[in-house]
């Protein structure tokens, strides 16, 4: 038998590694990493190696289905009946047509970023005219990192520069060890960095994959990252006097003078913020061409520099006081701060490709952990500040910003805006990026997700279950009538308390969803549309590593088009063609084309033409030729796999080339907060405005208070496994085998000493009870967890009959989370992800 190898892109998570699939007689027999692909350089993870089991999953949906049981519920049998595509599309089309005059009644859950679907559904939502499009899957992840990154660095996400970093602090993330974008790339970079001597400090309640490999694991009480970061700032700025003064003076708003009400002192004529020039002892606007030495400490008649206010503010967080909050010993915090400050090498430079650049080989990285809190924005922001005050942003050795800039096949680069500050992030696709500056002016809500009263947030879907409970309370006179969704299991992964989510999904009269397998979200569908495996699909956008979450530094930029390795199974259709057909049926196809042309930068002669019909491959072929030239059509990508370009210094280290200042003081939080108070007052809502402050303050989560009061003993937190991506793949037998062999995956972590004191044994089954749910769990005792913490991995706890391998295994962490306004961050809309629990037999 002849063996053939086909190059394509992995779709087992959002990264998009290059793979080669071994084929014999049309059957896929094995998957290997593509050694010539810049993303993974031949590496593969367990998820990718298990991909064939998703393709050949006998429980896959391979024909449209309709429910025959009108009753809906978490454990209600929908009574599926197979139907034709014609009937399925007629039904979905007619439901969409029925709300055509009031399109905001449509909600699209569009998170499916292994391929094109999220971009195509984004265009569909806009052409249809609904604001209710959710392009994110998690109730926490990304809620803060993206809006912070776009106004404090310029790109989509952050990434330590493992090529040059010598001291890396990870807070609430297992970066490059068990998680994160560009995974199989940064994994090797992390190993190389540690081998050459980079010190790795992991601050995390759990000493998991990252903590166990770190030089130093620092257990922290959940929800206290703000205090840790502010205290680190205090030691650096006030005790050690280490900060990059030149950077702060000229590349941040540190010298902007602040008046007594916390607002900038502004030039009466221009309205621009003013600074004090120590060189000639004059007050000037920040961009005065005569400005030489803007003061960042001291005071003038006009006000005090914002840096001076920051220094004064953080002085409240001595390591001794902070120890009471975080449980991190004061001496440990001082040790880390001292080492971090020394490693930052303030004033040092390096030369790369003949270009002299600042050299700051120390940085702090954070991700999901700090974001998932009631005060999530301010849990994260001071961690970013640690990099900014060191001048360690977008320079060699510091923290870099993913996808921020590029020169091929297009030019994109972040730009300044309001008050001279970074405002417009870099983005290869001309789509609005999530950012928290300068924010929107709040108004009375029209939207069911209350976006109007979260003026600094980029995502809002966590509010949908809350407004569905009582529209009138929020001044809304309608509810959602139709929902379309991707195969993502949003019921288990996008919200919290299952009772609340169940009521939300039941409140929507018609739901149609794509499905690879019938997960718990699909149990609420009226119509199911089968979705191909990634090994059967064409996707121009194959994962995120080429676009917004690629490897940082000077590694090559690249693009790969995903191609199928097997024929599309009978009964399946390409999702792009299904979306176009629905757009045609509701009369928005030409508008949809306008938006696809914009999204993918399609210009003549490649732009989609009104009145014409296209297949998925034709659209992808046009896009490939438009982006990369006539010679690089779809066929070229099918033969060659990936196209790559070298990055120059300006693309890799954008900091010195950025024509904008970075913020250390969030004046606009005061402005947006004041405006919001007025709107909320008119609405008669009880609202927490405590986070609308220009300088972060640590405020406790409800779980912190509950444990302090003795109402509960533990705080439960979630952590990631390197072989599990959300709940995607949980029904894959190879991934399940890994989880079963690892007692940590389906078990619940508890500190061994604490467990023994309570009479719990390793492997024992006990009750775990949160304020909203009680479940039986199997304990795994370990030294590697904070004594007040319970650790829960992955996204397990399935019950859908369509996932027979995953059923009844592990715990669904989100279902433990109280889901109400009290647990929503009023800046970012993140749902609090630390929850008070008790354990008992």
């Amino acid at each position: 038998m002849a063996t053939e190898w086909i190059q394509t892109s992995c779709g087992m998570c959002y990264v998009g590694c290059g793979v080669r699939v071994q084929m014999e007689d049309g059957i896929a027999l094995g998957i290997e990493g593509d050694p010539n692909h810049p993303q993974n350089r031949g590496n593969m993870c367990a998820k990718g190696k298990a991909g064939l089991m998703n393709l050949y999953n006998p429980y896959r949906v391979k024909a449209p289905l309709k429910r025959t049981n009108p009753e809906k519920g978490l454990h209600v049998d929908p009574g599926w009946q197979e139907i034709s595509w014609a009937e399925a599309l007629d039904t979905v089309g007619s439901k969409l047509q029925a709300i055509r005059d009031n399109p905001k009644q449509l909600y699209i859950q569009g998170w499916e970023i292994t391929g094109d679907s999220h971009l195509w559904l984004h265009a569909f939502a806009s052409a249809f005219g609904t604001p209710h499009y959710s392009s994110n899957g998690s109730p926490t992840c990304g809620k803060v990192i993206h809006p912070v990154e776009f106004f404090a660095a310029g790109g989509f996400h952050q990434q330590p520069d493992l090529h040059y970093c010598n001291y890396c602090i990870l807070v609430g993330t297992q970066f490059a060890i068990a998680a994160r974008a560009s995974f199989n790339h940064i994994l090797r970079d992390m190993a190389d960095a540690r081998a050459r001597g980079m010190k790795l400090v992991v601050v995390d309640p759990i000493g998991g994959f990252a903590g166990s490999k770190a030089d130093q694991w620092v257990p922290i009480r959940p929800g206290t990252d703000t205090a840790f970061a502010l205290s680190m700032l205090h030691v650096l700025l006030n005790e050690l006097g280490i900060y990059d003064a030149e950077f702060l003076k000229h590349k941040s708003n540190a010298p902007y003078l602040v008046g007594p009400k916390g607002l900038y002192a502004r030039d009466p004529a221009s309205g621009k913020p003013m600074v004090f020039d120590a060189a000639d002892q004059k007050t000037k606007v920040y961009d005065d061409p005569t400005l030489k030495d803007p003061a960042i400490i001291g005071a003038s008649e006009a006000g005090r520099p914002s840096f001076e206010l920051l220094k004064e503010h953080v002085a409240k967080y001595s390591p001794e006081k902070t120890e009471e909050i975080t449980t991190i010993p004061a001496a440990t915090l001082r040790q880390i701060a001292k080492e971090f400050g020394a490693a930052a090498s303030i004033g040092a430079t390096t030369v790369i490709d003949g270009v002299e650049l600042p050299y700051r080989p120390a940085c702090v990285d954070w991700a999901k952990g700090p974001q998932g809190h009631k005060h999530g924005f301010h849990q994260c922001w001071p961690l970013k500040l640690l990099n900014i005050v060191m001048g360690a942003v977008s320079v060699p050795g510091g923290i870099l910003s993913t996808g921020a800039a590029g020169k091929k096949p297009f030019q994109w680069f972040p730009e300044g805006g309001t008050d001279g500050l970074l405002e417009k992030g870099g983005n290869i696709l001309p789509l609005p990026h999530p950012k928290a500056f300068p924010g929107r002016t709040p108004t009375k809500p029209v939207r069911n997700d209350l976006a109007e009263i979260f003026p600094l947030a980029p995502h809002f879907h966590t509010l949908l279950p809350l407004t569905a409970e009582d529209h009138e309370r929020y001044g809304l006179d309608y509810g959602l009538e139709v929902m379309l969704h991707t195969p993502t299991n949003s019921l288990l992964g996008s919200f919290g308390d299952l009772k609340v989510v169940e009521r939300f999904y039941r409140s929507i009269p018609f739901i149609a969803g794509f499905a690879v397998e019938i997960n718990e979200t699909n149990l609420f569908d009226d119509i199911i549309l089968p979705f191909p495996s990634y090994l059967e699909r064409f996707d121009f956008n194959a994962g995120t590593s080429s676009r917004q979450l690629g490897p940082c530094g000077q590694d090559d930029w690249f693009w790969q088009v995903r191609q199928p390795v097997v024929e599309l199974a009978p009964g399946l259709r390409h999702p792009q063609e299904v979306i176009m057909e629905l757009a045609r049926r509701v009369g928005i196809l030409d508008d949809f084309y306008r938006l696809i042309n914009h999204t993918f930068r399609l210009k003549e002669p490649y732009a989609l033409q009104p009145g014409r019909r296209y297949g998925a491959t034709e659209v992808i072929d046009r896009t490939a030729r438009c982006w990369f030239g006539e010679e690089h059509d779809l066929k070229w990508f099918q033969e060659h796999g990936v196209i790559r370009y070298e990055k120059d210094v300006e693309e890799a280290y954008i900091g010195p080339f950025l024509q904008a200042r970075l913020p250390i003081y969030l004046e606009h939080f005061l402005q947006r907060g004041a405006e919001l108070k007025e709107v909320i007052g008119q609405m008669g809502l009880d609202w927490d405005f405590s986070d609308y402050t220009p300088l972060s303050e640590w405020l406790p989560c409800p779980s912190y208070d509950a444990v302090k009061k003795g109402e509960y003993e533990f705080i439960a937190v979630h952590y990631k496994l390197p072989y599990v991506y959300g709940s995607f793949g949980n029904d894959n037998p190879l991934i399940n085998e890994l989880c079963e062999r690892n007692p940590y995956a389906y078990g619940v972590l508890v500190n061994a000493d604490v467990a023994k004191a309570k009479g719990f044994a390793d492997g024992e089954e006990v009750w775990l009870e949160s304020p909203v749910r009680k479940v039986k769990v199997k304990l795994k005792l370990t030294q590697c967890i904070h004594p007040e913490v319970v650790g829960i991995a992955g996204h397990f706890g399935h019950w859908s009959p369509g996932m027979p391998i995953a059923r009844g295994k592990g715990v669904n962490f989100n279902s433990l989370l109280p889901t109400d306004l009290e647990h929503i961050d009023k800046i970012s809309t993140a749902l609090d992800h630390c929850v008070e629990v008790r354990l008992y037999k």
Binding site: N102, P103, K104, I113, H118, H122, A125, S126, A127, G129, T130, P131, Y133, S135, N136, G137, S138, T140, C141, G142, K143, I145, H146, F156, K368, G417, T418, E423, K424, L431, P432, H433, P434, K435, P438, R440, T441, P442, T443, K444, V446, R447, E452, P458, H459, Q548, D591, R594, L595, H598, Q671
Partner: protein, 112 residues
């Protein structure tokens, strides 16, 4: 399709007629897909937006413009298929008698 004349009385010869199509999030406040607008000869996209903001008030105006009066980064405007970012921004003129203006508010996109 709704019809709208912003300045009356007005001689037909001194006006341009513009067809406006709303897409994206703005539909939620405009509650109409299309609108016919008459504007004085020589009007620009900025004039059109100002007129629309006057007609629809808040939240339309605040979804469209920042506090300092700039267009929000998520607002896209095409005049006869051309993005105004390539044709002079809001000062782009509305010269034709059958100008098709698309005012699109895209949702902020992606993340986590």
């Amino acid at each position: 399709m709704a019809n709208l004349t912003f300045k009356e009385p007005m001689q037909q010869a001194n006006t341009v007629r513009v067809r406006v199509r709303f897409m994206g999030d703005l539909r939620a406040v405009v509650e109409s897909r299309d609108l016919n607008v008459s504007l004085p000869q020589g009007s620009s996209v900025g004039d059109l937006l100002g007129a629309l903001a006057g007609r629809y008030g808040d939240p339309f105006a605040k979804w469209l413009f920042t506090e300092s009066g700039e267009l929000h980064h998520y607002i896209l405007i095409f005049v006869n298929g051309e993005n105004i970012q390539d044709t002079g921004g809001v000062s782009t003129g509305l010269a034709g008698q059958e100008d098709q203006v698309e005012v699109i508010m895209l949702p902020m996109f992606e993340g986590g």
